[in-house]
């Protein structure tokens, strides 16, 4: 068998087999090495089963993907908006911004509602996490974090603690004290440790466990008290940007989405990836379960939001418009699941009719990208956080009453 001809700068004993021959300068795990051409060939074939090459694996993968598409297509008898043709259109919405929360010194990256429906927690690039009373605009707590870009924050179900993290690669829990003078930072508890930035976090049904997503490509479940890793979830092939827990009535699953354009549904107990969807054309920035628990939606840099039905195991709706060309960073559903609120990088919030597939309204006001959109637990308000350093709380009310209240602290 003939060797390929190659330029050899070195001639000497091979680092692997010691044969004196022309050597190829290669790097193994960043270490410079000199192998003879035969050893280079042998190394490239290591780990492959008989007859198995990268090309054969790729082919098998492609044909399985095609088979999966065929299986899914067999059940694609109709589109969601077609089934929804006969229902009434949504009546004209009267949603307007009722509160503007000012106080962060830089981009607001994340927010979460408390179950009491009036408190919120928000986190910012300025390294601060603030707990607000949404009615009075009082800042109840302000916690300085040791890092900037606090990309994720969450309120505990009890309302007695918050979790947050970001570029520190950790998720930390802070118990909230009634004593305003108490130094919250001193009571910090580091729970999750990832090897890259924390992109999302949420408590499970209690204050005892936290689910996290990370730029390291994994999601993980942690015990808050001990900081122990209970389960890790592997399968994404790039940064995971978002996760959402299934509504508690529908069982122990959660969905995640990321830069590999995939949305994965996971079984929390086994750590298994049970369903996977790849129809977006760019990064998935946010995923959210439908109120019924039988579907979920995703928001992407490809300027679309998509709805996936878990029982049909396929995408059933795409919320898009030719005039909408900016990425969607975040989304949430109204209480009944009729409306979908999407926060976009063109500073607006588009409100979609989930069933009919058309846009029914828009919310303006932010002066920079919308980073997070979340509907309150009782469905009465929608809060949006933005790179313009503010948060806005919007509601549908009988009487338009627009006040801009500036915090006096």
């Amino acid at each position: 068998m003939c060797d390929q001809t190659f330029m050899a700068i070195t001639f000497g004993p091979c680092d692997n087999c010691s044969t004196t021959s022309p050597l190829m300068n290669i790097y193994i795990k960043n270490e410079p090495t000199n192998y003879c051409s035969f050893c280079v060939e042998m190394m490239a074939c290591q780990g492959l089963l008989k007859g198995e090459t990268l090309a054969s694996l790729k082919n098998e993968s492609e044909s399985l993907k095609k088979k999966l598409e065929e299986e899914r297509a067999k059940l694609h008898d109709v589109e969601l908006h077609q089934v929804a043709e006969k229902i009434e259109v949504v009546s004209a919405l009267s949603i307007k911004t009722r509160r503007v929360l000012k106080g962060h010194g830089n981009k607001v990256l994340c927010m979460d509602w408390c179950k009491d429906k009036r408190r919120l927690v928000s986190s910012s690039q300025d390294g601060k996490v603030i707990v607000w009373d949404g009615f009075t605009l009082n800042k109840e707590h302000a916690v300085p974090m040791p890092c900037t870009w606090v990309m994720a924050c969450a309120y505990a179900p009890s309302g007695c603690a918050i979790a947050c993290g970001g570029l520190d690669n950790k998720c930390s829990v802070y118990p909230l004290s009634l004593d305003k003078n108490e130094n919250l930072a001193a009571k910090k508890k580091s729970v999750a440790m990832h090897t890259n930035y924390l992109s999302g976090c949420t408590f499970t049904n209690s204050d005892m466990q936290i689910l996290t997503s990370s730029g390291d490509g994994t999601c993980a479940l942690w015990d808050v008290e001990s900081g122990q890793l209970l389960q890790s979830f592997h399968g994404h092939t790039a940064d995971v940007l978002s996760l959402d827990l299934a509504p508690s009535e529908t069982g122990n699953t959660f969905v995640s989405g990321g830069c590999d354009k995939k949305a994965n549904v996971w079984d929390m107990r086994s750590g298994q990836n049970v369903q996977s969807f790849e129809t977006h054309e760019s990064d998935i920035n946010c995923v959210k379960y439908y109120p019924s628990g039988d579907a979920f939606a995703s928001a992407s840099d490809d300027a679309t939001c998509r709805l996936y039905d878990l029982r049909a195991d396929r995408e059933v709706a795409v919320y898009q418009k030719d005039s909408i060309i900016f990425g969607v960073s975040s989304l949430d559903f109204s209480l009944s699941g009729r409306l979908l609120f999407g926060g976009y990088n063109d500073y607006t919030i588009n409100i979609w009719d989930v069933l009919k597939g058309n846009r029914v309204s828009m919310l303006f006001g932010h002066e920079n990208r919308v980073s997070t959109v979340k509907v309150s637990p009782d469905g009465t308000s929608v809060c949006s956080a933005s790179w313009d350093n503010t948060l806005r709380v919007s509601r549908a009310l009988g009487m338009p009453w627009l006040l801009v209240l500036y915090s006096l602290t």
Binding site: S232, H234, V274, A312, V316, R338, L355, R395, L397
Partner: protein, 74 residues
């Protein structure tokens, strides 16, 4: 699978992982879209009448109404 991160895996290992996942998914139980969409629509119609962002909240239940202090900026 020992559960390593994608960036520490070779191309071959990533392909194998994706292949194993696809093999599992091909046999996932599925039901027709039409029937599932009907159920989704019924779910929504059952709740839509009480969706506060669609129908609004009457003034007497509105905690944002009223003078809580502050100023109106023109």
């Amino acid at each position: 699978n020992t559960g390593r991160m994608a960036r520490d895996m070779t191309d071959k290992e990533i392909l194998k992982m994706e292949l194993d996942q696809l093999k599992k998914e091909v046999s996932t139980p599925r039901t027709p879209v039409g029937a599932n969409c009907q159920e989704t629509i019924s779910f929504v119609e059952g709740l839509a009448a009480d969706d506060p962002l669609i129908k609004g909240v009457p003034d007497d239940k509105n905690p944002y109404k009223g003078d809580k202090g502050g100023c109106i900026i023109t």
